[in-house]
Amino acid sequence: MEEKRADLLRAEGLSFSYGDRRVLHDVSFTLPQGEYLSIIGPNGSGKSTLFEILCGNARPERGQVIYKGRDVHTMDIRGRARHFAVIHQNEQVDFPYTCMEMVILGLHPHRARFERLGEEALYEVRRIMEKTDTLAFADKLITQLSGGERQRVALARALSQRPRILWMDEAMSDLDVSAKIQMIELLRNLTKEGLTVVGVNHDLNTAYRFSDRILALSHGSLYAMGAPDEVMNERLFEEVFGVRAEIYPGKGFFITGESVSRTAPAVF
């Protein structure tokens, strides 16, 4: 990470609390274009809150998120949807859309009312479906798919939004190993083309193996941020997750047991 890439997104002093409970405390960082960033942390560390604030779904109590010089929270919803696409963990839809129709819904922020979909747009959708390996069930109903297949359709829909940043909230937790690796490979290729990916990730091994950088949260504060090898060490496992781990640099790690002393909550 020697070359300096232009910053696409900047978080400045983000704080948030539910009533008296502080869930996020003064989190700041910058995100260059084309990066794959994973947000990690144990349950209740503020991952989801941070995620929702970053992608514009929730307003921070203090601080701001700047995307290309604009405050994300004052951008209009439709305009933001042309730059950000968000995939949530298993989204439940009981209506019989075909997968292709579902992916076409991703064009919504770019389409005028009553605009007819031209040949070009349909081929573009098809190309995305080919890329995400969803073309095989393009004509099937979304209600008939398995969780993993549905998640790939959600990815295809997000990509058809033509986003600059793709936000993934636990989006790969329903996928089996091979589907997950396939999806990550795809995302890695997309980052080479300039897409920026930010994911909340519970699977620490994949986060370690495939992210450009890791953002570790502990008790609502930024614990560490940097390349996976710098951030994910024995100390982090001990202090943030309360477990002992054996690290095999460049490959991954094993959790070997519970930590003896878990650190006290960070003092606000």
Partner: protein
């Protein structure tokens, strides 16, 4: 971005894209068929009854009236023209419009509440209308205060909606589940209010009960004038914003992330759906199952795309309710309320659809 279309990737492309187009085109064709069927059955039904008139004769009278051609109209007997234009036509139009309105409102509520089993009455708007109408009937009988049943039904339907939204808001926002719960609460209170009114009415309870059963008999042009603008304009507005409604089906968060101002769209459709329902109930009483079954069947049979589903449901709903109403008018010696018939037919049919459906597959 390369978009090379080589021979190898063409056939597969054509298949999925062709399937997509086919699903669209099928809707247009069926829409055309339904529209034609409505016009034809309208003329046919107007000609049927105690005084039978031929199809061409009926058409001639309607055409002369529509074009205002007095010379051509004078070719027909005055009583025939009066029966066609003043007695049968308004009732049949009411049937079509109410069927249309209930089905469109059904589509709206199902999409809005993300529940394919919701219907126009889920939020209690109909119970409000029933309460208002019963109050008007009772006041007329007991106190001699003449209030328009229709106006009171509409007013109370609207008040119910306002109350439901208010309670949902106080209870944490107008998300689907909050709206449904708040609708259940309000409608439970109103139904016991309704029972109270029935008790107070004593021997005159018959008038209220008959109204509640839902009927289109003796509807006049005044009723058409109430229901037509609300249903037609409401449906048109609903179709204009249907793209946003499509995205709402994905849920609040996903819809926002696709650029839909969910708060505004939700409020718009709540008001549209409720106004349409209120107008229908005010004119015809509570007619069951039309607003549940028709959107449900068309959605699983043809498409969940609201731009198509709204007009198609409207057309099929109009056609079927008017057919059912004319059946009650023509087949039975003493007219049974059409609301009873729709529920009698719609209920078992819906059981069939529901049981066969099994996780989104099956018949519809």
């Amino acid at each position: 971005m390369e978009r090379v279309r080589t021979k190898q990737n063409r056939p597969a492309a054509d298949l999925s894209i062709r399937h997509y187009r086919y699903r669209k085109r099928r809707c247009f064709i069926i829409g055309g068929v339904l529209l034609a069927a409505i016009v034809l059955t309208l003329v046919a039904f107007v000609g049927m009854g105690a005084m039978r008139l031929g199809f061409l004769k009926t058409w001639g009278i309607l055409w002369a009236k529509l074009t205002g051609n007095a010379v051509r109209l004078s070719a027909f007997a005055a009583n025939e023209a009066a029966i066609v234009w003043d007695i049968r036509l308004p009732r049949i139009l009411c049937g079509i419009l109410v069927g249309m309105g209930l089905s469109v409102a059904g589509v709206i509520f199902q999409s809005l509440l993300r529940n394919p089993l919701a219907d126009p009455y889920t939020l209690g708007v109909s119970t409000g209308a029933a309460f208002g109408a019963s109050l008007a009937i009772l006041m007329g009988l007991a106190a001699g205060i003449v209030l328009s049943t229709t106006a009171m039904a509409f007013l109370f339907a609207f008040l119910t909606l306002v109350l439901v939204i208010f309670i949902a808001r106080r209870g944490g926002g107008i998300a689907s589940s909050n709206l449904v719960i708040s609708g259940i609460i309000v409608s439970a209170i109103l139904s016991s209010g309704l029972s109270f009114l029935k008790m107070v009415a004593g021997e005159d309870v018959g008038a209220i009960v008959f109204w509640l059963m839902g009927s289109l008999s003796s509807k006049q042009w005044g009723d058409v004038a109430i229901v037509a603008p609300v249903v037609l304009i409401g449906s048109a507005v609903a179709i204009i914003f249907a793209n946003d409604l499509n995205v709402m089906v994905l849920g609040e968060k996903s819809a926002r992330n696709l650029g839909v101002n969910t708060g505004r769209i939700r409020m718009l459709y709540l008001i549209l759906g409720s106004c349409i329902t209120a107008a229908c109930v005010a004119v015809s009483g509570v007619i069951g199952f039309v607003g549940l079954v028709i959107p449900h069947i068309l959605r699983f049979w043809l498409t969940p795309d609201n731009r198509m589903l709204l007009p198609l449901s409207g057309l099929l709903g109009g056609l079927l309710l008017s057919a059912a109403d004319n059946a009650t008018r023509l087949l039975f010696t003493s007219e049974i309320p059409v609301g009873v018939l729709t529920t009698l037919i719609g209920g078992p049919f819906f059981i069939y659809v529901f049981v066969k459906r099994r996780g989104g597959q099956g018949v519809f």
